[in-house]
């Protein structure tokens, strides 16, 4: 077994900021594990602008924002980056095992930062009845299809939920020449950022069905139509208000969940409802020396906030490892 002073799991904005911050506070032996083939995480598929306003005082796209951190990491030889590295096991003693093509490594970490991000809630989690045809995607998967793979997953879209990714994808599909039949939101207002509502929906006259829920997805092989229905304040269906929308694709944009299955395996206490670690202080968990930052700690609206909070995590971990930290002396 190899000993490493600090292991950071996750090479998205949170993991990168935390690793850099730990380095700047004195930690010199850092291993950064990323399961994908490149650093940057989900930012890579977010080609729209609006990132960095707070942190860099500039308007950047997702890949540009990520690139600034990637360049910084590349210039710090003490941060060893291991790509395509997938952690399969973690114990409360901070022993972790990861796979990469061709090898399996087991490491004892002095301290750990988990920056594993979040996943999208699925159709299954909100229980939409009906058939199970092709053409039901999470909004983020649709984003990946278009922006990374160059594929158009559908031509007539209904979006369930008004989360930010859903709003951004409404515009994206329109720009790709698809039709967006509507956004169906169970609440009376959008759960996305105001700027996304304005720039992605209102500017394009996309209908939004507030106080509506989707009551069924239909189609034998591919989505053919959905039923939507008005709901009352308790989210119960109002009889006689059903409307049918023809479409070939349903995007699900009903929120994000922190990915914390690894620390749960290690015995960290997890809030069953939010899937966040139970904690009184940001980035801390019930196991000393295991820290969580970014969207795996809790889902943030802005990546700028993720960066700031993850820098804090780097300080906290440096302090835990016994370094004299400088970041509280602003």
């Amino acid at each position: 077994m190899i000993n490493r002073e600090l292991v950071v799991v996750g090479g998205g904005p949170a993991g990168m900021a935390a690793a850099i911050s730990a380095y700047e506070n004195g930690v010199r032996d850092i291993l950064l594990l990323e399961r994908d083939q490149y650093l940057g995480g989900i930012l890579n598929q977010c080609i729209h602008t609006g990132f960095g306003l707070d942190y860099f005082d500039e308007v950047l796209t997702g890949p540009e924002y990520a690139d600034r951190f990637i360049k910084k990491i590349r210039n710090i030889p003490e941060i060893e980056v291991s790509l395509r590295s997938f952690v399969v096991d973690l114990t409360e003693d901070k022993v972790l095992t990861y796979l990469k093509p061709g090898s399996v490594e087991t490491i004892k970490a002095g301290a750990l930062i988990m920056a594993t991000g979040c996943r999208e809630r699925t159709r299954e989690m909100i229980h939409i009845p009906g058939t199970r045809p092709a053409g039901v995607f999470s909004a983020g998967l649709a984003q990946k299809f278009i922006n990374i793979e160059g594929l158009l997953p559908g031509k007539k879209i209904v979006i369930v939920g008004s989360g930010d990714i859903g709003l951004i994808m409404a515009r994206r599909f329109l720009l790709e020449g698809a039709e967006v039949e509507g956004i169906v939101e169970i609440k009376s207002e959008s759960r996305g950022l105001i700027r996304n509502m304005v720039q992605c929906v209102e500017d394009f006259n996309i209908p939004v069905y507030f106080n509506h829920k989707i009551s069924g997805i239909y189609g034998k092989d591919r989505v053919e139509k959905v039923d939507i229905v008005r709901v009352d304040k308790e989210f119960n269906k109002v009889a006689g208000t059903e409307t049918r929308l023809d479409c070939d694709t349903v995007l699900i944009s009903v929120g994000l969940i922190p990915e914390n299955e690894l620390i749960e395996m290690a015995g960290v206490e997890i809030d069953k409802k939010t899937n966040s670690p139970v904690s009184k202080e940001v980035n801390r968990t019930s196991i000393p020396g295991i820290f969580v930052c970014g969207n795996s700690f809790k889902v943030y609206d802005l990546v700028d906030t993720v960066s700031n909070e993850s820098i804090k995590a780097g300080c906290m971990i440096a302090e835990y490892l016994g370094y004299k930290i400088t970041c509280n002396e602003e």
């Binding site: 061709g102 159709r123 299954e124 009845p129 009906g130 199970r132 999470s138 299809f145 559908g154 020449g177």
Partner: protein, 484 residues
């Protein structure tokens, strides 16, 4: 389309667990066998939504065909699973009683099952239950314990049976829908099976067409069969809850069903369901809010800690019901035509016994069944990382680097496993999911879909825009960007 007409001793119609069990059984003998399946892959009909329970043989009427075949099948399945490298886990089942009246029903059930030869049955009390099934509702007072109940992956069993049958000479034709049956005036070859891919000339036809077995039977002039689809909705829980229960939990059975159960899949995901509802349409796979509510509340009666947030997926399946019992018979009015019809629960368990029965029927009706000298009985296990220890995983990754390349994070599936699945016949995204579990976990393919598609496109030489979820019409994406 085949132009020349090929002849076969036996043509099996239907590539589910019944058709493939029969195909594998017949592949022991020196006869020419073809199996025809209308879908793009095997197990895409009734079998794909099977709950995977190998029943011990309780809850069947004494004297029924299904009762007898279920008890035999429970024994045979173990041997076949071992021969074919499919994982079978004997977990045992508990039929739970909550009051005195139900308690006395347990004794009746036990007696009935014992007359049919179900081994090892005993009634266990509340203390035993609290010790051995801690998450069971504390109000349970007793249960009938059947230790021989087990679980298996229904589709992986089908794929293994088919692979072994092919190794032993059976032809399997997918995307081959039977459109008609023509009678020939020939003493030996009595039928021409007309399909979407040409004509298959046969001495014997075995109708194992599941929901459509009545349609196939009527093509052969047997018109007194009617299949009623009986819908069941099932709900699968996150693998995190693998240890929710130790045994399969059943309430007391009703007339039409075994009730809503708490079981688990052979991959370790708890499963709750199914509902029971007779429907008209053989394609009606709609799930409903009512089914959801019903299943969750009935399952909570057995295990109160079940949380609906743990449900990661749900689906509906259709049982092919034709009367109360299985129908496995040679149609004497149509010599050479064998019906295997109405194989609903416990059809998966009974499948190998049904296959044995079909073999005898063929023999009794004049088919010469000489054993092959070289029957390839055994077949290696398909490797799944999620079922391996870290030590074994290390060895695998050393042997083949692609085992270390994980593409499905939720269920821990490597590139190597996906490539293997494609080599073994997976052609669709569902086919890959059924074989490997990739896309079947809590994120539902949110992270891995694009990578799997690229591998599938590359390995099968199919353009990525033509890849489907489960066959033509279910294409995943519409087109490449910027195609106007």
């Amino acid at each position: 389309m085949r132009t020349e007409i090929k002849t076969y001793d036996v043509v099996i119609i239907g590539g589910g667990v019944i058709g493939t069990s029969i195909a594998r059984e017949l592949s022991r003998y020196k006869i020419d066998v073809a199996l025809l399946e209308k879908e793009i892959e095997l197990a895409f009909g009734v079998s794909k939504s099977n709950s995977g329970i190998i029943h011990p043989g309780t809850q069947n009427l004494p004297g029924s065909l299904k009762g007898r075949l279920c008890v035999q099948g429970n024994i045979l399945t173990r041997r076949i699973a071992k021969e074919l490298g499919v994982e079978f886990q004997e977990v045992g089942e508990l039929i739970v009683a909550f009051n005195k009246e139900e308690n006395s029903r347990l004794f009746e059930l036990k007696k009935e099952a014992e007359t049919m030869g179900v081994p090892g049955l005993r009634i266990v009390g509340g203390d035993w239950l609290r010790e051995n099934e801690p998450n069971l509702n504390g109000e349970a007072i007793a249960a009938l314990y059947a230790p021989t109940a087990g679980i298996i992956s229904p589709y992986r069993l089908v794929y293994a049976l088919a692979e072994n049958a092919v190794k032993n000479g059976v032809e399997i034709h997918v995307l081959t829908a039977v459109e008609g049956i023509k009678f020939l005036k020939d003493d030996k070859y009595k039928f021409d099976v007309i399909t979407s891919r040409g004509v298959f000339r046969a001495r014997f036809i075995i109708n194992a067409a599941g929901l459509y077995a009545d349609k196939i039977a009527s093509m052969a002039g047997v018109s007194d069969l009617k299949i009623t689809p009986r819908k069941g909705e099932e709900f699968i829980l996150d693998k995190k809850k693998e240890n929710l229960t130790r045994h399969l939990l059943f309430p007391l059975p009703s007339k039409t069903s075994k009730g809503i159960l708490v079981t688990r899949t052979s991959d370790g995901n708890p499963m709750i369901g199914p509902t029971v509802q007779d429907v008209e349409d053989k394609e009606d796979l709609l799930t409903s809010d009512e089914g959801y509510k019903k299943v969750v509340s009935a399952a909570r009666r057995l295990v109160p800690s079940i949380n609906k947030n743990d449900i990661i997926t749900y689906f509906a399946g259709l049982r092919p019901v034709c009367g109360d019992d299985f129908i496995v018979r040679h149609e004497n009015n149509v010599p050479g035509f064998v019906n295997v019809v109405g194989i609903q629960s416990p059809g998966l368990t009974a499948a190998p016994a049904i296959a044995g029965m079909v073999k005898k029927i063929l023999e009794n009706n004049g088919l010469d069944m000489k054993k092959k000298f070289f029957f390839k009985r055994y077949q290696g296990k398909v490797t799944h990382l999620f079922s391996k220890s870290l030590y074994k995983i290390k060895k695998l990754v050393k042997r083949d680097h692609a085992y270390g390349d994980i593409l499905c994070r939720c269920e821990m599936v490597s590139v190597k496993e996906v490539k293997d699945a494609i080599k073994r016949g997976a052609r669709t995204m569902d086919g890959i999911k059924f074989r490997t579990r990739a896309q079947g976990g809590r994120c539902h393919g949110g992270f891995c879909t694009t990578r799997i598609m690229k591998i599938l496109a590359e390995e099968t030489n199919v353009p990525i825009t033509e890849l489907t979820k489960r066959g033509a019409g279910s294409e995943i994406v519409k087109e490449e960007r910027g195609n106007d």
